[in-house]
């Protein structure tokens, strides 16, 4: 099985790569269209802002390629947000693979933004990606923007209000938290993705 990490300039690429190594998979880091197209699994990691993230994919000529992929694709954190249609962050048009708009967390008393730390997951729709995940198991989140609940939400988390923690539409999947930093829960979810 070949797994590639799309090098879109995110700083968590190393961590995701090490997490996959711990699962016995050596993923290549690449921005080469042919290598991405040929891979069995494609992971789009990302830390940073939506605008620069999309700009980097455009510069690399990967926007249409990402949209045309048919193998399982996983967007992590910003990578998941880039799969959506649009992000309020920098008013950015994204890949449009999941019809949702990424919104900033509303400032509320006692609700600190960024949402940073471990929060519980609630399964909304059963999916092979969530195999062996129990409600209340926690994952590590770090983000200021989130995908609202929508028909593609597989699992939610709650921060002031419920939002999408895991999404999937067809072969495109997203995790808002960092599975590579979510201890055994994250390792299990990454393993589920690799088994899709």
């Amino acid at each position: 099985m070949t797994v590639v990490l799309v090098d879109a300039g995110g700083t968590n690429i190393g961590s995701v790569r090490y997490a996959l190594q711990r699962l016995g998979v050596d993923a290549a880091l690449t921005s080469d269209a042919a290598a991405i197209r040929a891979a069995d699994k494609v992971i789009l990691p990302g830390v940073g802002a939506a605008g620069p993230g999309m700009a980097r994919l455009r510069e690399l000529g990967l926007v249409e390629l990402m949209r045309s992929l048919t193998q399982p694709v996983l967007g992590v954190c910003l990578g998941m947000q880039l799969l959506c249609a649009h992000s309020e962050e920098g008013d950015t048009e994204c890949l449009g693979l999941i019809p949702a708009t990424v919104c900033r967390f509303a400032e509320r008393p006692g609700l600190r933004v960024p949402h940073m730390g471990w929060n519980g997951l609630t399964v909304q729709n059963a999916h092979p990606l969530l195999q062996d995940l129990s409600d209340g198991e926690q994952a590590y989140f770090v983000h200021s923007y989130a995908v609202p609940m929508n028909e593609w939400t597989l699992a939610s988390a709650n921060y002031g209000e419920p939002f999408s923690a895991v999404v999937a539409r067809g072969n495109f999947h997203g995790m808002q938290f960092h599975p590579e930093r979510s201890a055994t829960v994250g390792a299990r979810l990454l393993k589920n993705f690799l088994a899709l």
């Binding site: 700083t11 961590s15 940073m116």
Partner: protein
Amino acid sequence: MLSRRIIPCLDVRDGQVVKGVRFRDHVAMGGIVDLALRYRDEGADELVFYDITASPEGRSVDRGWVEKVARVIDIPFCVAGGIRSVDDARAVLHAGADKVSVNSPALERPELVAELAAAFGVQCVVVGVDSLRDADGEWRVRQYTGDPSKTRALARRTLDWVAEAQRLGAGEIVLNCMGSDGVRQGYDLEQLGAVRALCRVPLIASGGAGTIEHFRDAFVEADVDGALAASVFHSGAIAIPELKRYLQGQGVAVRAC
């Protein structure tokens, strides 16, 4: 619900984890990767590594151990010490750290905080604040605390600096209350509460943990998002699973180990 975080802090010097009392007289506690793994297994929510001599010596953090930790650890970790530029931070983040914490260099040049936030997003940028109450009753910032011979007392008020750091783009504040550090008499709840009142980003308490009740007090009374401690964890005086069970019983949301 978002869990409150328990964060062991590992002060790093010459490839070893060390701990001093009131930021002085450091003694070796063990190897970096060994301790990181031990805390991960015990249920730590996050780790912070401070290269305590990098800033006073004017050098960047050594990336070798950052990468070693990133390979074996599957919880988030933050690296502090000697990060003076976007390039320094990029090297540490690319080596696998999740966040960088800036302290003395941000005091030298506050724009560093804005530059880091623009380059990596606020979620990567932690501002560490070493603070001590002066004789006139004001909390003020200290610089270069890793080396007592180089530590400087600044005129800058702690509350002003926290406000400015947030404005510049800090995604998290770690408040090291130096007056209570290493003496295990409890976190400085008064100071934490004062900072909490103006801190809209996550706030981490540091300095003073001695008993499990001290953690409860920081979470319940000062409403901090995380509590950082070193010696009580390194010495085994407090075990993280036991601490979390106690906190859960006290109604504090924590992640089960």
